[in-house]
Symmetry: D2
């Protein structure tokens, strides 16, 4: 399928936060993201190997929410094509002047068919790339934004939408009946720029940043403990089955979920094989079989429309992954063909 | 307090296992321990930096149990003193000829006042130390046995016993009323050779092996996943509050608990400070605040007497740590003086 | 500049080796590459995250040499366009039937304007991707082929050739007079698929494989030591200034140079900044200022033409990097504007 | 052999430095050591897991030198015994009042028979142990002082002296004729508290600090590069043959040599085997066969007497290690019994 315009990658997220000082402590003092600019209304952050103005905007607002997920496109002409594409789909489209978001040139924001506020931009201010600034990088140095993960009720429909934008599927989770529980899609040559998680939506599940090594992720946990902020840790660290990445899920002061992520694999060849996991495989979500905490499945960030109003939720009709794997079905397994005597999480309570 | 004889360190454990082949797969094929000798009755294993004949004996028997925990003493004369000491306490004492355990010289085994089968030995066969055999060491190379952890009902009484043997306390867990929930004691200059965990006993909680780095412990998890044996992972990996060590708890095919452990600290000076943790501090057992799985508190290995019969259990009378921290007390905290709104594990179910 | 056809990435190298058994010991037993196929004439190897038939072919021959560097293109149609492109340049072009190289479909090999035997292919046999086979991966697990590095007399001319194929420059080394000593170019979103090193050519400087972490590269050194094969280590481990990657250079039993490489950075955006290093900056080749061993500058592999005959060398006319930085110029520095009192390597002898 | 008094371990060094500000930048800003106290005359530093007042004193003075190496003994009574012991040997002995060195109680300093200023102390001020202060620890967090290394002309004589103080030999380097080139001895259960290197002496070769992991040592190199201070790196990082430790040698602003060191092994059992290396084994000093830079063999710090005057040097009479291994003997090997065709360093020049 030929896309109407050329998206490069997931580029930045704009989150509404309730207390800029609390957010700054979390993202800057603890996680070590670099402040490109800050004022009374917003903080613009980047990671150590990024040279665009920001990969995360924290904007003060009345209640926590996602304001936009931004993809970078290959040129300014592609921004125009993006607008045309979404207008042709009948989606709300907002043309944004250069600087409407600090550091970003002329851009468009749309409400996509899945209900998410999505920005497409090319032009952006360049800033110093801190790749070799080991004097500034702390023990958990974050290199770059990696991907977004969203909750949407109908995964195949969402996947078809993203495929129409030129994304390809690297991995997914299904059951024998063909129900798709989640799907991972990419433009850049990693496992994903966007993950589609089946659930009531539109909601933001998380945004993910990459480090180079596992020890840096473990160091982030140690640092949170030293700050007596270990309650920001929601899940992990662990090794994903899907993506094979080493992961950690944090919740920021407003409850926005942030993943720190490393070690996925190259997907840049056109015949990169798609890997399908059985929803009953206990190692799909954690290769070590550690249980997924229920909040990870159930909680997520509200999404705003282009006027800043919360989008109403559409319920997922098909089975929920949490329900078919933590419940009483008895079909989860570690070794295929061998019944798992007890599920780990069940053991725990 | 002057000890009656000079113990060097925790040196080996003898476990009764029900299926030698299954145990061999776990300890040798997956964990990578080195086989010094094996026959139809037993497998003698050591880690890569050990030069004594073994640090773990797996002996075939009718049901899983602990047959002995062995401490090395400074000389053969100290073995004799150990026998005298325990005879004077009225404990059962068995004098064992050289070779009674393969690779071990003349030794004594006693049932100590806590009800555990404990061996003291000095003489042992030397074998090749594989310190630099990186060609043989796998991704999770285990360096040496580090410590034992036992369940005993009365921690202060058990601590007094070990202090009478010359051990010193590095850390413990108490509550404001002075109840001691657990205590860590050492002879060698690490955080512990023996940990005393309050609970129905005598039972073996776990034996622990050390690696050099955290990534080796993470690699063990990855390898278990690749073998589709992730259900051997009971808890972790994580960072302990107590000891500051990075840890992983596994259960072997018989349910014996094995810890893989790294990064604790030097304790060899005589004024090494004792660190006391509040039982309500959520970071004491896991610095990252991740919950302790209930089985970790409740399950443990049966202990045998010198005739190979299971020792009956004595119940703990004082409060159990699991009961006061996972239950409805509401006094657990991450930041002292600040009520913790919800306990993580509670969130999960 | 628009390329005539669409290259994806550096995909495989074919090396002529004099003793297949010796090469197998090095690449398989020590480095741990996976054997896809082997017979009396050749060994086909891949790394753990690769799903194409091979990324390295070792073919038995009378004397060590490079037989081909192969780039993958986006489709079979692009193979045809590649042939047309090089024919239009007047280069020798060989059309190769499917299976001419085991595992590879219809392809073309050319002698490019720089004198190198280059293959373009799309179709290739898929094999199992061992991404999660941690049971098979050793301590120095290699993930994938990363890049080629070649010696060529005229770097700007070579760079212009590669730019005409759609490559972009990530970094280079120059002096104040504009002499270009080396240049790094990429198609996939890493620092390079091809590096151009100024020197007598055409010769192969090295091929490079990637790992995920630095500790895996250090482990390879430890393993070579355990095999008493430390003399395979030529340079490193170290941190490059250029590319910021952590590196190790090995020489295989025939003297072919192999780099093990990790931690470079994302380059996939169209405005990725080019970084130019001063040839007199002592941290350009090693961020830690460790000297480059002279053999690294002077020795390289012979290159064959399409008939298997060694290509004659063309001498570099411009200054050689080794000459201007190790010699008596006295202009090398660690802190710009501050004369370096003595050069490290000079200190050593 | 029974020692006259009970030494615990290498505890602190006092270095004379010419510029406190320059030293502070190196040890505090770059290496991250913790300042316990500083004034116009001296800076008192400790590592993150130490609870005594300091493990390194930097004292301002006219020219760089070693003022004292301090061992901790088991009690105050042992300090007295130490004085008696050295008086009986006819050595200069200075009784120092509590606070003569800030943070240290009553102590004695002696000039030992090898010509070194050695302090013995027990009493010392306790300060906060920063074991879990991951919020303060940087990427190269140093845990504790590990050992001293000194140059002395007659290694067997020096070894006999240290054995008379209760030290035991873990490893040494000899040739077939029995010449001892270097020897490693310990009191605490690591490979060494003191290393004796054959050479003109008395001079201080280096003091060494430990980290937990190799990646922390590599991070120190990266940080030095970012500060444009890579010229502080003299040798490494690498893996020692002797001790099996991962190492890095730095030179401070005055040329004092500092080793950062990790991963040696447990030596606490009384029958710990002594490992003797052949001086012609190319992997003894670096397991990867990388050459030792000549300055590492030839340069060292001046040693002061108890009145602060430089001690005159006594020349080594026996062969120097650097002379027999880098020179024209041709007897160095990587694989025993196989002549090494060329020595790596020879290749380089």
């Amino acid at each position: 399928m030929t896309a109407s315009f050329d998206i490069i990658r997931a580029a930045y997220a704009e989150l509404i936060v309730s207390d800029l000082a609390a957010s700054r402590h979390f993202y800057v003092d603890i996680l070590g993201l670099v402040v490109t600019h800050e004022d009374d209304d917003a903080i613009y952050l980047r990671a150590f190997e990024e040279y665009l103005h920001h990969s995360l905007v924290l904007r003060r607002g009345p209640q926590p929410a996602l304001a936009a997920l931004a993809y970078r496109v290959r040129s300014q002409a592609e921004v125009t094509k993006a607008a045309t594409h979404f207008e042709s789909l009948g989606c709300p489209v907002e043309h944004r002047a250069s600087g409407a978001t600090r550091g970003i040139g002329e851009a468009v924001r749309v409400i996509d068919p899945l209900g998410f506020p999505i920005e497409f931009f090319y032009d952006a201010e360049h800033v110093e790339r801190y790749t070799r600034r080991y004097d500034l990088q702390g023990t958990g140095a974050i290199s770059r934004l990696d991907h977004f993960n969203i909750l949407t009720p109908d995964v195949p429909a969402a996947q078809a939408h993203y495929e129409s934008l030129g994304f390809k599927v690297s991995e997914d989770i299904q059951d024998d009946a063909g129900t798709v529980y989640a799907s991972w899609l990419y433009r850049k040559a990693t496992v994903h720029d966007i993950a589609l998680t089946g659930g009531d939506g539109p909601r933001l599940h998380h945004i993910a940043f990459a480090t180079h090594e596992r020890n840096q992720i473990v160091n982030i946990c140690d640092t949170l403990g030293a700050h007596r902020r270990s309650d920001h840790i929601e899940r992990g660290p662990g090794r994903h089955g899907v993506s094979n990445a080493f992961y950690l899920y944090l919740r920021d002061p407003d409850g926005h979920r942030i993943e720190i992520y490393t070690h996925d694999y190259y997907t840049g060849d056109p015949d990169n094989p798609t890997l399908t996991w059985d929803v009953h495989d206990n190692q799909r979500r954690d290769w070590w079989g550690n249980p997924v905490v229920p909040s990870w499945y159930s909680e997520a960030s509200t999404v705003l429309d282009l006027d800043g109003r919360p989008k109403p939720l559409v319920e997922r009709v098909e089975a929920q992954e949490a329900a078919v794997t933590i419940g009483a079905d008895g079909f989860s397994y570690t070794r295929e063909g061998e019944a798992m005597p007890e599920y780990k999480l069940g053991n725990q309570v």
